[in-house]
Symmetry: C2
Subunit: 476 residues, 2 copies
């Protein structure tokens, strides 16, 4: 016999989450909606391993984030790491399978791991849903990614949102325009990316002398002086009522600067493509303050904002990164995509009250009144399952029917089948609607949406049970 094991405290790793059934059902709902939209656009599923060679994941982009990577030496002595995002593995895929048809449109729903400082809403295991088009340099690819974001948010029942976009080349042009040396560009972008959270004044302080944050910690400034900061301020104040108006205002500011005009042309082209696809200024705006922190962006950049949760930050973020695949190949391959953290998005939808998932997928509980009739309960259960009805057979002690109904109610099962020996002998069973007569709680409302039963308890002939229950769920 094995020795008595010591008792281990059951606990989660810090920064990690369990997904219990109710949360899983809400998540699945969301994932299915996003997946359906992505497939409408012609994207196909892909999956890659959680572990990669460390070398695969690090490099130009990884260098900035290396300290957040879960890296270790495996038992064979290989330096490996948990993937940090889904973009670098995609770049590897493109290089490793040159025969993949291009453009390659794929989505991937997978966790990534980052050794971030954990906090409210900040986790170390993040389920991302990415969508990317690789091998197309045209702005139509960018416009379709933006269109897919718009469609996702609409399909999720969010009405008040907007996608805002800009262009990394415009920011590069700004660096020149403001007279900042190009080597400092990415530092400037990372400060600009804080605009939403920190506000303009704080951003200006971080570009300049630095500041002290809320908790009293000093934030080192970039040390720019008034001239460049004034130019940046001037740039950030460019707005307009429509995308077209902003394009006009940008042209006025930058004159004939080459890189700026390339960027502005791209902004204008995306505007036209979106307009052709029926996506107007309500849901997609040009916003020159969009910066996106990542180094690898080379063209359009964009992010989605929930208008009623501005503090939440962006829910989708992405852009064009034409250089990333080059790390693995001799040649550059154009690519554009977006990423969304599914659990952050779910948290936002919960806050907006637009999550309507059932608490359980079980539709019927077959209660057990008489333990001598277990075979009958089983036959009944099998019949319902064979008819496609999700059915749980009560496993607890037979008899105490009140306790069984309480259990069904607690876990959210809408219907219970009840039959004792008398009923079986008479060829009858009862069906109890556990929703009927209850307060319309949020959950009950969700159940109501697919349970059409309009009765409290009803006795039905045994042979008509399946038909009766099927009809009670007819709306499904």
């Amino acid at each position: 016999m094995p020795e008595k094991p010591k008792r281990i405290k059951p606990r989660l790793l810090k920064g990690f989450s369990d997904f219990l059934p109710e949360r899983m059902l809400a998540r699945r709902n969301l994932i299915e909606i996003v997946r359906t939209v992505y497939e409408r656009y012609g994207f196909m599923p892909l999956d890659t391993p959680a572990l990669e060679y460390l070398e695969t994941l690090t490099g130009e982009y990884g260098a900035n984030s290396a300290k957040e990577i879960y890296a270790f030496e495996d038992r064979a002595g290989d330096h490996v790491a948990l993937r940090y995002d889904l973009t670098v593995p995609l770049a590897r895929i493109i290089a490793q399978y040159p025969d993949l048809p291009k453009p390659f449109r794929r989505y991937q729903f997978s966790p990534v791991w980052r050794f971030d400082k954990p906090g409210p809403g900040r986790f170390r295991e993040i389920w991302q849903f990415d969508v990317d088009t690789v091998g197309c340099a045209k702005m139509i690819a960018d416009a379709e990614i933006i269109g897919a974001i718009v469609d996702c948010l609409k399909a999720l029942g969010v009405e008040r949102f907007h996608v805002r976009y800009s262009n990394r080349k415009l920011l590069n042009a700004l660096i020149g325009y403001a007279g900042i040396e190009s080597g400092r560009a990415h530092d400037v972008f990372r400060v600009l990316d804080k605009l939403d959270k920190a506000g303009l004044e704080n951003v200006k302080l971080e570009l300049g002398p630095g500041r002290v944050d809320k908790s009293g910690d000093p934030i080192k400034g970039l040390g720019l002086d008034g001239g460049p900061i004034g130019k940046i301020d001037e740039f950030l104040s460019i707005t307009g009522k429509t995308r077209t108006e902003i394009v006009t205002n940008l042209r006025a500011l930058f004159g004939d600067a080459k890189e700026a005009n390339e960027a502005i042309d791209e902004l204008a082209e995306i505007d036209e493509l979106l307009t052709a696809a029926g996506i107007d200024d309500t849901h997609v705006k040009i916003d020159v303050s969009v910066a996106r922190g990542l180094d690898y962006y080379t063209g359009p950049i964009f992010e989605a904002i929930l208008d009623d949760l501005p503090k939440f930050g962006s829910v989708f973020g992405g852009g064009r990164y034409d250089g990333l695949v080059q790390r693995f190949m001799g040649q550059a391959i154009p690519a554009v995509g977006t990423s969304v953290g599914i659990d952050r998005l779910l948290a936002a939808l919960v806050e907006l009250g637009s999550v309507h998932a059932p608490r359980t997928t079980v539709q019927v509980l077959v209660t057990t009144m008489d333990k001598k009739r277990m075979a009958d309960y089983q036959i009944l259960t099998r019949e319902l399952r064979d008819a496609g009805i999700n059915t749980e057979l009560y496993f607890g002690k037979a008899g105490q029917i009140g306790k069984q109904l309480q259990y069904a109610d607690r876990v959210g099962i809408p219907l219970a089948v009840i039959a004792g020996s008398d009923e079986f002998d008479k060829g009858e069973v009862s069906v109890k609607n556990l929703h009927e007569g209850r307060e319309m709680s949020e959950q009950a409302e969700d159940r109501q949406s697919w349970l059409q039963a309009r009765f409290g308890q009803e006795t039905v002939p045994r042979e008509k049970l399946t038909k009766f229950i099927r009809e009670a769920f007819a709306a499904r």
Copy 2:
């Protein structure tokens, strides 16, 4: 500007796999079928983190497999590990959330990681689909898990298979019956578990003096002598035409030995429960040679075998493990479940020819003949997508229609929409059926199953396009 990055060879870690779109679609098909069956039985989804404290994963059971665990120290100095299975995390969940309703029936589809010797069909990242019932000591829980396995395999289109079951307590009784000291029980079970792959004679050698395997490596024997081995042989030769007959034969062999009778009663009870649920001897048999390698089983054990792929070994495997949760709690909580490696199962289904997944989920390619009409192509694309049709807009160079159709054909898109300026002006578009007139390849057959179009190429009024295409896919 960042320095030019060095070129990195794109490669997978040894023992890991990429899942390109075609494979993902086949997998998803399979996963959806399994999930639907599990939900019919009332199981609910659960997910847990990939990383856990090493201490959580190791212990009585982990001790045997510790060398296969991906363990490391994280940046905070915590000893962590990638989960090795989904059973230990479930045990943690049960202990950590005592308010979860019992019995707790959950399924989980997640990868696990094992530093195994990689080889054909052996991977280090394994996607498992587990289903377990925790908190029910009755045999009905075991019978339902077996029933779910049967339903899964039937739903997957496998006809020739069987689930065979036995009981760990029967094996414990065998140890006593054969006069082997109880401390050697698990060693004996691990040898018996090889019966299928190694055959009876080799198993007898491994129980006794040892043997040399095919590659010439010596396998150390347990050193049992003729007496115990003879008893084991006698036990293994117990068969019967029906489950009931085997129960009778077992009772005859063991007489009134207590543990044996407990086990035989359980075998008999599962037999009765399965019979009541309409599952006869065809698909579920009692087989006393079933051993299952894992130490933690305490009662019924079972596995599913594909009759046409006997060499493949078991596809589902599981059993009752009433002691595992105890590691985290003062008290034992009964539990029973099964696990299936989804990619091994998929490989088996491919070999059996019972995988019918489409190569792509894209239904329509909107080709682009005239680049001045891009807005029209976009409007057309949006219209189809809004109607729920998965539509790809061709992103390559406009004009060369042959190349575009070739692309659609290559990736498996069944319909192409074709329109040039003339057609647009006349208010017409053409729809080409890329399936029509081709050889019925395996893929084409799959496409045929949901594409009902009976035409080669047809010109339709522009405003009727969506309706026309919807009808072409009417069977979906």
